[in-house]
Amino acid sequence: MSDDLAQFRATIRTWLEQNCPEEMRDGAVGEDSTCWGGKNWNFTSDAQKIWLERCAAKGYTVPTWPVEYGGAGMNREQEKIWLEELRAINGRLPLQSFGIWMLGPALLHFGSHEQKLHYLPPIARGEIRWCQGYSEPGAGSDLASVQTRGEDKGDHWLVNGQKIWTSYADKADWIFALIRTDREAKKHLGISFLLIDMTSPGVSTKPIRLISGKSPFCETFFDNVEVPKEQIVGTENRGWDVAKYLLTHEREMISGSGMLAGSARSLGAILAEDGGLDEPVLRADVMRAEIDGLAFGLTLERYKDQAEAGQGTGDASAMLKYMGTELNKRRQELVMAGAGSDALSWEDERAPHWLRSKANSIEGGTSEVMLSIISRRILGLPG
């Protein structure tokens, strides 16, 4: 077994050596450094385009997806090796997207074979970019009270309403959305999970400016939008099941922001480099954050291993989301404190990152919603 993995590692290493363009080996993690894909994507360099195409051809953009849907069919051990080898050459990820992190896993679980064949390969190749239509002005933490409605018109739904916090809606090609298709049923039982082409007549978007300056968030409006009946995932009025499943993946994705605070880079070492740790109280706070970050990183690994072994993280993803995002907010505060007045200019990238991090414990379910999920579903405390 370990011989097989060693062989696998050697294969990956050789392939990376021969195929990853030099320009993609700078470890850059900026907003556009990694391709987001989609028809509206402007490649920042030829190398970025070549890198995507080479990886997509091997299924490396979505390593664990089945080969027939555009993946490489790797197991978790192999995926770890792929990521380790990529990190070893400081390589950028070839592609990132909500299609990969959120819709893909939901489709793999709930979609029909035809839907998987139709929607997954374009995500894997970076051809179609997806956004998420969940929250509404009146449905934040109480997500199941969404009001955007879909009227049954025989061969299609007629969708009217408004979504908010639709990240990158202005750049996305398609949206997956929670639409109320039964207004009489109890609120969790009248929602359907629909896939909507953003170029459909009646869809419009408007960006939202955040405290951190520019932001990817938008409002998205639906004005008599016709959505064909086959563009539903799962059963009609049972979209909440899909939504919940997808939310656990979203939470795991967001909790990854706390992972950055863990094993990858030592915050203390970064701050100490330019004398930012001379102050003893700050130094003590950084030591605590370092310890908690490392332990959280180990927890993320432990849960991923459990998931691989078939013990799904499920409700426990609420813990990862809560701990990861609170940790990242702490880390960002410490980065600002360590940088002092150096970080107070809009020309410095630290301030926007610090401000943006404040949303981490709100988006994808607030910290308080996570704690309530844990207390009811894991601890069994009365509702």
Partner: protein, 360 residues
């Protein structure tokens, strides 16, 4: 598996009433319990099979320590089965093998005499071992010697001409006087005076002036197991607290239905989960790559100290007044958490180790 088996045994042989009973009887140790653990192979968990041990490794030792922590089983497991056994394993000699087999069969207990000041600081040693003919004379005082009141043998860290040396001597040797400390956790500890205590070259564990070669691995093994014990302690206190939230009524409803308490309990559960990951990692590192385990061990000890102390403080607060009574068990958890946080290095000590190894 191992955890379940251990739990089954401990629920029978060492529930929390065991420690309470010993305390009420003015005792700190139960030799019969130790003998039972020896029969199950626990005292030899880190003893090689050729010396009669079960040699299950550090991860297994941590599992046992964690289960003992859940009910505060009063045993010299850490001093003897983990710390002394690990130290003895670093030495290849017939004498060390014989000592290991006595640990495995449960006939000898050990205590580590290392602290002299109020904080863990193994490099600062005043107790001297002066050359005397072919041997040494040990003079000085050790304090907070855990299990030192009853242990059969002592591992004593002493200053020699060119550095530090570790001695393995019987606790009843002439010149040694032991004063038991009445500890808040109802466990055993002693202050020990050494008045020109004779030691031969045979009593040196490892090499003269090179104590750390033997002691460092033993300390790390002990720190990891203590962290595991404290994680078990936190789980025990937390389980008790959640149980109480589900049965206590005020204002006509279960207090566990109040969001203020739910969120505190959920937050604490998250802390326990994260700490559990650090403990697992430390045990695995000690088994797979002991030379590189220092970071993992200090991370585990720091997290465990923090989590255990939070768990007991939240435990008392969420229990309300009854949590303050001696009749209730939470006080036992709280007092042991305080002692465990201090022993073998507190949060600050281990945070310093982590910072150094992480480059700042």
């Amino acid at each position: 598996m191992l955890a379940d088996a251990a739990r089954g045994f401990l629920d029978d042989a060492a529930p929390l009433t065991k420690l309470r009973g010993l305390r009420d009887a003015g005792k700190t140790h139960d030799p019969a319990l130790w003998t039972e653990m020896a029969q199950m192979g626990w005292t030899g968990v880190l003893v090689p099979e050729e010396a009669g041990g079960s040699d299950m490794g550090h991860a297994a030792a941590c599992v046992l320590a964690e289960e003992m922590g859940k009910t505060l089983a009063p045993t010299p497991f850490l001093s003897t089965a983990v710390i002394a056994a690990t130290a003895l394993r670093q030495v290849a000699s017939d004498r060390a093998t014989a000592a290991l087999s006595k640990i495995a069969d449960g006939t000898v207990t050990y205590a580590l005499a290392i602290d002299e000041g109020k904080k863990f600081d193994p490099e600062t040693v005043e107790l001297t071992a002066e050359k005397d003919g072919n041997g040494f004379r040990l003079s000085g005082r050790k304090r907070f010697v855990v299990d030192g009141g009853f242990a059969d043998r002592l591992l004593v860290l002493a200053r020699t001409d060119g550095g530090l040396t570790l001695f393995d001597i019987p606790a009843d040797r002439a010149g040694i006087s032991r004063n038991a400390t009445p500890m808040i956790d109802s466990r055993d500890a002693a202050e020990i005076d050494f008045d020109k205590v004779e030691a031969t070259g045979e009593d040196v564990l490892g090499q003269v002036d090179a104590a750390m070669t033997v002691l460092q691995p033993a300390l790390e093994a002990g720190q990891a197991a203590l962290a595991a014990e404290m994680t078990g302690l936190a789980a025990g206190a937390f389980g008790m607290t959640v149980g109480y939230l589900k049965e206590r009524k005020q204002f006509g409803m279960l207090i566990g239905s109040f969001q203020a308490l739910q969120h505190r309990a959920a937050d604490l559960w998250c802390e326990c989960e994260v700490t559990a990951s650090a403990i697992l990692h430390a045990g695995r590192m000690l088994d797979s790559d002991p030379q590189a385990a220092t970071l993992a061990v200090s991370l585990a000890k720091a997290r465990a100290a923090d989590t255990a102390q939070r768990a007991v403080q939240e435990g008392v607060q969420m229990h309300g007044g009854i949590g303050m009574t001696d009749e209730f068990d939470m006080g036992f958890y709280m007092r042991r958490a305080r002692v465990g946080a201090e022993w073998l290095g507190d949060y600050g000590y281990h945070a310093g180790v982590v910072a150094r190894l992480r480059g700042f």
